[in-house]
Symmetry: C2
Subunit: 153 residues, 2 copies
């Protein structure tokens, strides 16, 4: 077994008063110039699935594709060995001093620990015409302008 | 301080004999159907920057933008509180039984721990016209077909 690595939450997802990230004080200087990007990739931790059972599931039925079972690395299920959520979010406003990053939306639950924020940069994040599994036929080709919301349970 | 969370590497980046991920045995069933996607988002750990000094840097000069200092959350620097690398990679082949995921390229060093693999799905990962900071003016609008290579040191 490879040694584990240590994640340090840098803040939390808050939904009250508008969807935002609340970044802890020591990390706030890292927000400088984030507002120059329209979109960010937010990495967060799925606390609700940080348990041995969820972390040992390797295949799952796809709720949106009846009859299809896929490996967890072929879907965005919250069951995975490292329950890292990754969401491309539209940034509405950044208040660096207060540590607040206001977002159009994020598919993360209240109080989810935030792990990282990365700017969305076309040359490394945007693929012109990616082939996908057939069960995604008919899904939109682009993220909706308002961003991605909380999954229905 | 929020409690830390535990990352478990699922394999490693290998560059010998072609760039690939070598996934450890317990996680290999998670690779089922990954080959139905042309691109994957690979999360990996930047071991070389997993130290107190690197993890406490909050702002950095941008090597590609002389005179610009930005927060680490406004760039893709390897200095960040949680040194998670994120690379959109083109998948060449998946050998599930052997735990091998062959990639066109990845900007990760030999032996970097792999944390997660997620399929690249347009509706959640592809933004039509993201505004970016002016220092990226003139950068390509799309990922090159061959994927992203190792950064020059």
């Amino acid at each position: 077994m490879t040694a584990t690595r240590e994640l340090r939450p840098i803040g939390h997802v808050r939904r009250e008063g508008g969807i935002h990230l609340e970044i802890d004080e020591p990390y706030r200087p890292g927000l400088a110039k984030v507002e120059l990007f329209e979109y960010a990739i937010v990495l967060w931790w799925v606390d609700g699935h940080d348990n041995e059972e969820s972390r040992s599931i390797m295949q799952t039925e796809l709720p949106y594709a009846p009859g299809v079972t896929a490996g967890v690395f072929a879907c965005r299920s919250e069951y995975r060995p490292n329950p890292i959520g990754m969401t491309v979010c539209r940034i509405e406003k950044v208040e660096e001093e207060l540590g607040l990053v206001w977002l159009s939306d994020i598919d993360a639950f209240e109080d989810s620990p935030v792990l990282d924020i990365k700017p969305y940069i076309p040359v490394v994040d945007r693929v012109r015409s990616p082939r996908v599994a057939s069960w995604l036929d008919g899904w939109p080709d682009w993220m909706p302008a308002e961003g991605i919301g909380l999954y229905e349970e």
